[in-house]
């Protein structure tokens, strides 16, 4: 595929302007601009449903180096609204790659823009907070573009999860190897590797749309319930929280990312929008029970507010960068969750023990 090059301009809601050239797609697209500091894993990132609708800015300047590798997608399509990089690598090189990133983006109708001062843009977002932006190859006028960026819905209060599930019907995925337990997984925009982690440990996963009713969930007689990651503001998902609340205490529950935030809300905590969130693969998180530090994969713009945690909810993990809540545990309800991504993809695999614990706990229940 010929990778074309047309001028693209990025305008943020505060009027800041950055210029580049397209390496895939063209036209105009708006979304919240977020930066990720992970140096590898662009393919996993752009196919991660948690990034749905966001314009993803890679701080690592060379993107596309190893092309696109079959099996490394986190969902069935490119989820990001657009991709911003310093330099796109047209000549990808890796034995496993099948095609170029530009080809994948073009085919998905997603714009890729290179050549802009991504570090300046990152620093801008860091100082001013995540904000909406618009990329255009058709409109030149900054004022018009700024107005359009401001007209785009704000992430605060935005329900994206309800429409992000990968499935519309319950879908059964059997355990790899001998089955040790059954997990009902509520899909708010789940990353594929989470299911791989569960199934590799012997769990059969029944994937359910996030809107599945409490009764339906319990009717599937799961040994444990998993709450997936997903995009958007958790506080906008009142229905989902209502579904969860009665589940707590019935069977063990484990949540990741948005699932963690929803668990927090169901347990009575509040969530808030962070200035520019956590997106990367290098954040240190302390497991407060063991004292050990994990280097974690992060991707979230909202967080559970520590001061609102009820007394019977224990803080299990804390981010060592900014002290934010990274893990919860409600002993009475046998429910726990982490804000970060133990399935990594992309990122370090320091936290796989969380899947061991979840599968182990619910398997023991089966055994007894």
């Amino acid at each position: 595929m010929e990778y074309g090059r047309s001028r693209a301009v990025v305008v943020l809601e505060d009027g800041a302007i950055f210029e580049g050239w397209t390496f895939a797609g063209d036209g105009e697209v708006a979304g919240e601009v977020v930066f990720t500091t992970s140096m590898v894993g662009y393919q996993e990132t752009i196919t991660d449903p948690s990034y749905r609708g966001q314009i993803v800015l890679f701080t690592y300047p060379l993107i596309g180096n190893y092309g696109v590798i079959p099996g490394d997608d986190e969902s069935h399509k490119v989820q990001a609204a657009a991709v911003l990089v310093r330099e796109y690598t047209p000549h990808h090189s890796n034995w496993a790659s099948e095609r170029s990133l530009a080809a994948l983006l073009s085919e998905s109708g997603v714009m890729g823009v290179e050549g802009l001062d991504t570090r300046a843009l990152t620093r801008h977002l860091r100082d001013k907070g995540a904000m909406r932006g618009i990329i255009s190859t058709v409109e030149r006028d900054p004022q018009t573009l700024r107005e359009k960026a401001n007209a785009h819905p704000s992430m605060l209060g935005l329900d994206l999860a309800s429409t992000s599930a990968n499935i519309t019907e319950p879908t059964l995925m059997t355990a790899i190897g001998e089955e040790c337990c059954r997990v009902a997984a509520l899909d708010y925009g789940v990353k594929g590797s989470i299911y791989k982690e569960l199934r590799n440990r012997g769990a059969t996963v029944l994937a359910l749309p996030g809107s599945t009713s409490t009764d339906e969930i319990l009717d599937s007689e799961p040994d444990g319930i998993f709450l997936s990651n997903g995009p958007g503001d958790p506080a906008a998902l009142e229905d989902a929280v209502d579904i969860l609340r009665p589940l707590l205490g019935e069977v063990p529950v484990f949540g990741i990312c948005l699932g963690h935030q929803l668990l927090g809300l169901a347990l009575g905590c509040e969530t808030y929008k962070m200035p520019f969130g956590h997106h990367g693969a290098n954040h240190p998180v302390r497991n407060l029970r063991t004292g050990r530090i994990e280097i974690t994969s992060q991707n979230h713009g909202f967080s559970v507010r520590e001061g609102t945690m009820p007394d019977d909810v224990e803080l299990t993990h804390r981010n060592l960068y900014d002290g934010t809540v990274e893990g919860l545990w409600s002993p009475e309800r046998r429910a726990w969750s982490v804000q970060y991504h133990p399935e990594s993809s992309p990122g370090p695999r320091d936290s796989g023990y969380l899947f061991d614990e979840f599968v182990g706990t619910i398997s023991e229940k089966v055994a007894t």
Binding site: T37, V40, P346, P348
Partner: protein, 1055 residues
């Protein structure tokens, strides 16, 4: 876990003199460790024999022992200081090996010294191939099939089983010494034999070769609480088969997907845990199949390494400093990240730029050696560059190399020095990427990136430049020089156009976190973007231009001087601004200067920094030739060069101007002349009178300097070199045979001159001053002559117009004192003299540059009644077939210092520290040239009196017998009976005195010297050094080498 309070004093072992495979990076790491531990309130005791280091400055440790790194000496230091703990992981392989030997000798247990960082078991497990392989088996990781063998038969058996190619590595050596690839049985025999010789424990590892696979390195840190972080991933551009020290490397890894990278990362965590490195950094190397997800673990260094230094500079994560704090009991999360100050060190740096390292080679110094790269390291230094893209960082690194592409004859098909130039050439000639990959196994990602550069070179050659086209070229990283060449203009014009179009570099920070947090540390690199991040403030600044890559002739001594300049600038209230491209150094540490610009030392990059900084001045005189050669261009562009003016530099360096000056001043000098054409050379040489010293003008380190004795030799020299021309004339000097050479380092403020020290060379004139041992204060020169040396130095300094440092070289014989050279800049001996006398010359010079007067400084040099000897270290053992003879071309890589109250003791210590063993008993073999037969008698007698048995070649033996000495005759090489080579081989010789005669390769003398080298028998090649060795041996017998004293006491420094 907080700081350990159960220990209060810590011993740190440095890495000794600079050798190939162990260079300035350990000054950087040791200095960081000393600072870190002292900041924590520990008493730090340091042992290191290398004076040219910041770490051995008396302010850096509480007690600094500039003593040989031997078990005996360090045990003596332990006995005297009684440290609670020993930290052996920051002084390279030398420190690690010493720690093991101290443990095995029972010294650590005897004095209750705890080993920090890595246990003896861990060190063994990481270093012993078999134990390491077993460990990898236990954690399910693969290493290439292999076996440790003690003899050739076992190696051949393995070869029959797993086939070729095989790789052969000797156990327990550094820098891959002795490692090589065997493609057939013949090569295997040679490789195993050499390897067994090189290994101190007489074993080698024979393993499956994964040559051609991709090579990756991960820098890993672990704390006592078992937290592990990967600081940096490094991808080697040159595939497996080339030592990583000789490879172009890039950080972070470029061609691995997340899944592939995380597999290596997870493996690294398992490895550091299994090996059991309890605290600190380790370097783990992997070979990755370019065709599948297969990979092998290659090796692990359980210590701070050259790669850790690179990783520290590449990421801003100070591995050595953190390693020291971890050893003191802290955990990663308890240590703040210096750069953000708001976040802890328990994280993995995120880069938003690309780092490229290119090694610097010195094959031109060893013409007999093949420049093919192997698993044995040959490079003498390296450059690092930072850019926002790979192309930009690669081109900046190439600009930093200071290697002229025209001087390099690279070969695409062979992993040779600077093969990257051949990749450029092949692409320019139209070769396609798959073919280049096929021939080099360099990943197509890198080749394609270079193809982009080559394409952009082509697109610029025609038409007028738009701002956009120019910006695009600069963003790819093309230097002004390339743009000028492509368009037939000059760099001035290109710079002018850039300025007019507003195409100027911006400076970005290295911040460890890709912009996620504000950076507090001013560590910058240039790139062409929209936003500039330099926090300049209003304080006046002074720019110090560093010395670039270490090379023979321009080593860590110059970095030492630059660092001192920076310290002095800060003391004087200026913002000290460092520009340098060498990742191995203290000068490129982010907290050495007020601001650090990691940039090539090219005129373009220096001028851009000056443009950005608007400094009060620029200091060029500390960094050696690299900054000095920019003097004219910087001055022309309006930069204010502090100190000695470029014109004064020219006055001292231009042979004819300098000659006239000496004559005017009435200072004697040897006859000299300049030949601008080859035809002029003969008459000039004849008029001066043979023998003469010939060399190109403006060189450092005696590059292509030779002594010629007649017309034929002169023609040979001129034919072998690129010739002589009006731009590059050949200098011809009378060679002052049998003179003693004397070096002086001095500082001049334009009114007064401070003579920092006078050094007497041990070897007679003719040996390059950098390769000669020297002693201060002088031991055989009359006071009146020394006064004349001082007086000439002062007269010269004022007449040349020196402001700052200068080095003058004299030759002395009888009552004659002549000047042979004057260099108005920092010399190689500045750190040595500073340590010998306690006066930090570079700091003094910096204050002078800022306008202070010497008379106000009250400088007081004191040698306190001791002698200091500097002894050079040579890399001959790395270069097969090279004659280890001393001559006018410098070939040493570093130096060691010995201090004692007697000359003999100091000389012996310096020799031992420089890696020579000095026997106290046994047999001396003597074989000298006819002209020296007379003088050798007394030396031989002295050895006999010290209890040595004498053996000699036939001619020499006859002379000794005539003089009543008992001596056995050793047959000539090739004659019947056990000749000298056989004798050396079977360990029948403990010391060799062999002075050269005759020209050409493969003389008997050459064979003896090579044999001595491979068998580690000390071989002395000048009579002067032999006479000094006698004193050294005598002192060693009397225990003089066991006397140890801290520098602070010797200099009367209070700490």
């Amino acid at each position: 876990m907080p700081r350990r309070d159960d220990i209060s004093s810590i011993l740190i072992i440095g890495s000794g003199p600079i050798v190939i495979g162990q260079a300035a990076e350990f000054d950087y790491s040791g200095t960081q460790a000393c600072h870190a531990l002292r900041d924590e309130g520990y008493r730090v005791i340091l042992v290191n024999s290398n004076p040219a280091t910041i770490m051995t400055d008396p302010e850096v440790a509480d007690a600094t022992y500039i003593e040989p790194l031997t078990v005996e000496t360090v045990a003596e230091v332990i006995r005297r200081e009684r440290p609670d703990a020993l930290l052996p992981t920051l002084g390279g392989q030398t420190a690690l090996n010493l720690a093991i030997e101290l443990h095995e000798g029972g010294f650590l247990d005897e004095f209750g010294v705890e080993l920090l960082g890595a246990s003896v078991e861990s060190i063994h497990m990481a270093e012993d191939r078999q134990l390491f392989h077993d460990a990898m088996d236990r954690i399910g990781l693969r290493v290439p099939e292999s076996r440790t063998v003690q003899d050739l038969a076992a190696a051949e058996e393995l070869a029959d089983r797993i086939g070729f190619p095989l790789i052969i590595r000797p156990s327990f050596t550094l820098g891959g010494k002795g490692g090589s690839v065997a493609r057939d049985h013949t090569e295997l025999r040679r490789a195993v034999t050499d390897g067994l010789d090189a290994s101190p424990v007489g074993s080698v590892l024979v393993e499956r070769s994964v040559a051609g696979w991709k090579e990756f390195e991960l820098e890993v840190m672990r704390d006592l609480a078992d937290n592990v972080v990967v600081v940096c991933s490094i991808e080697n551009v040159d595939p497996m088969g080339v030592h990583t020290g000789d490879s172009i490397t890039v950080a972070p890894a470029q061609t691995l997907s997340d899944r592939q990278y995380q597999t290596l990362r997870s493996a690294s965590l398992r490895i550091i845990r299994e090996i059991g490195v309890s605290t600190g950094g380790s370097n783990i190397q992997f070979a990755v199949d370019p065709e599948s997800d297969d990979f092998y673990v290659i090796e692990m260094n359980p210590r701070v390494s050259r790669s850790s230094a690179l990783a520290s500079k590449a990421t801003g994560f100070p591995i050595a400093k953190i390693a020291a704090k971890l050893a003191a009991g802290y955990t990663l999360d308890e240590i703040p990240n210096d750069i953000t100050r708001a976040t802890p060190a328990s994280f993995e740096p995120a880069l938003d730029y690309v780092v490229t390292k290119i090694p610097r080679f010195a094959f031109e110094k060893f013409p007999a050696a093949a420049s093919r790269l192997t698993t044995r390291m040959h490079s003498v230094g390296e450059v690092m560059a930072i850019g926002r893209t790979f192309t930009e960082s690669l081109l900046k690194a190439m600009a930093s190399l200071e290697v002229d592409a025209g001087d390099v004859i690279p070969n695409l098909d062979e992993a040779s020095a600077y093969r990257i130039f051949a990749v450029f050439d092949a692409l320019r000639a139209g070769m396609d990427i798959p073919e280049i990959f096929e021939r080099t196994k360099i990943d197509p990602f890198f080749i394609a990136s270079i193809a982009r550069i080559v394409a952009s070179e082509g697109s610029l050659s025609s038409g007028e430049w738009s701002r956009e086209a120019l910006l695009e070229a600069k963003r790819i990283g093309l230097p002004d020089e390339t743009l000028a060449a492509a368009t037939g203009s000059s760099t001035e014009v290109v710079r002018g156009v850039r300025r007019a179009l507003g195409v100027n570099p911006t400076y970005k920070s290295v911040d460890t976190c890709a912009g996620e947090f504000p950076a507090q540390t001013p560590y910058y690199y240039s790139t062409y973007e929209t936003e500039d991040e330099v926090a300049r403030g209003d304080n006046p600044s002074v720019v110090v231009l560093g010395s670039g890559p270490n090379r023979i002739g321009q080593g860590v001594e110059f970095d030492y001087a630059c660092v001192h300049a920076s310290y002095a600038l800060k003391d004087a209230g200026y913002d000290a601004v460092m520009v340098n491209s060498n990742p191995e150094t203290v000068s490129t540490d982010y907290d050495t200067s007020t601001r650090l610009y990691f940039e090539p030392l090219s005129a373009e990059h220096a001028l851009e920094v000056i443009r950005r900084e608007k400094p009060d001045g620029v200091i060029l005189q500390f960094g050696g030739q690299s900054p000095l050669k920019l003097a004219r261009e910087l001055e022309k562009s309006g930069a204010k060069v502090l100190g000695t003016s470029p014109d004064a530099i020219d006055l001292a360096e231009d042979r004819s101007r300098f000659g006239r000056l000496l004559s005017d001043l009435g200072i004697p000098h040897p006859r000299f002349g300049t030949a601008f054409t080859a035809d002029e050379a003969r008459p000039v040489a004849r008029e001066i009178g043979y023998p003469v010293v010939v060399r190109p003008s403006y060189v450092l380190g005696g590059r292509r300097m030779e002594i010629v004795y007649n017309d034929e030799d002169l023609d040979l020299y001129l034919n072998a070199s690129t010739g002589t021309s009006p731009e590059h004339p050949t200098l011809i000097d009378k060679f002052m045979e049998d003179y003693v050479e004397v070096d002086v380092d001095a500082v001049c403020d334009g009114e007064d001159v401070y003579v920092g020290g006078i050094m007497e060379h041990v070897e007679e004139a003719g040996v390059h001053s950098g390769d000669s041992s020297c002693v201060t204060p002088p031991i055989t020169i009359h006071r009146a002559l020394l006064e004349r040396v001082e007086e000439y130095t002062k007269r010269l300094a004022l007449a040349v117009g020196v402001v700052g440092l200068m080095n003058v070289q004299f030759v002395v014989r009888g009552d004659d004192v002549m000047v042979i050279e004057c260099n108005p800049r920092a010399s190689r001996t500045v750190p040595f003299i500073s340590k010998a006398t306690g006066v930090p010359l570079a700091k003094v010079a910096t204050r002078v540059l800022l306008g202070e007067k010497l008379r106000d400084m009250r400088l007081w040099a004191s040698t306190n009644g001791h002698f200091s000897v500097k002894a050079p270290v040579f890399p001959f053992d790395r270069f097969a077939d090279v004659d280890p003879l001393l001559g006018p071309e410098m070939r040493s890589t570093g130096e060691a210092m010995g201090i004692d109250r007697s000359f003999g003791g100091a000389f012996a210590k310096a020799l031992i520290a420089a890696g020579q063993t000095l026997p106290v008993s046994g047999r001396v073999y003597i074989s000298v040239a006819n002209r020296e037969k007379r003088s050798v008698v007394l030396i031989a007698r002295a050895f006999a009196d010290l209890g040595f048995e004498l053996a000699a070649s036939e001619g020499t033996a006859e002379v000794l017998k005539n003089n009543g000495l008992p001596v056995s005759v050793v047959p000539k090489i090739g004659e019947l009976g056990d000749d000298v080579l056989g004798l050396i081989e079977e360990g029948g010789v403990d010391l060799i005195v062999n002075t050269p005669w005759g020209r050409g390769a493969r003389t008997d003398g050459y064979l003896i010297r090579r044999k001595a080298l491979t068998h580690g028998v000390p071989c002395i090649t000048t009579l002067a050094a032999a006479a000094a060795a006698v004193q050294g041996v005598e002192s060693a017998i009397r225990g003089g080498t066991r006397r140890v004293n801290p520098l602070q006491k010797l200099l009367g420094v209070r700490t």
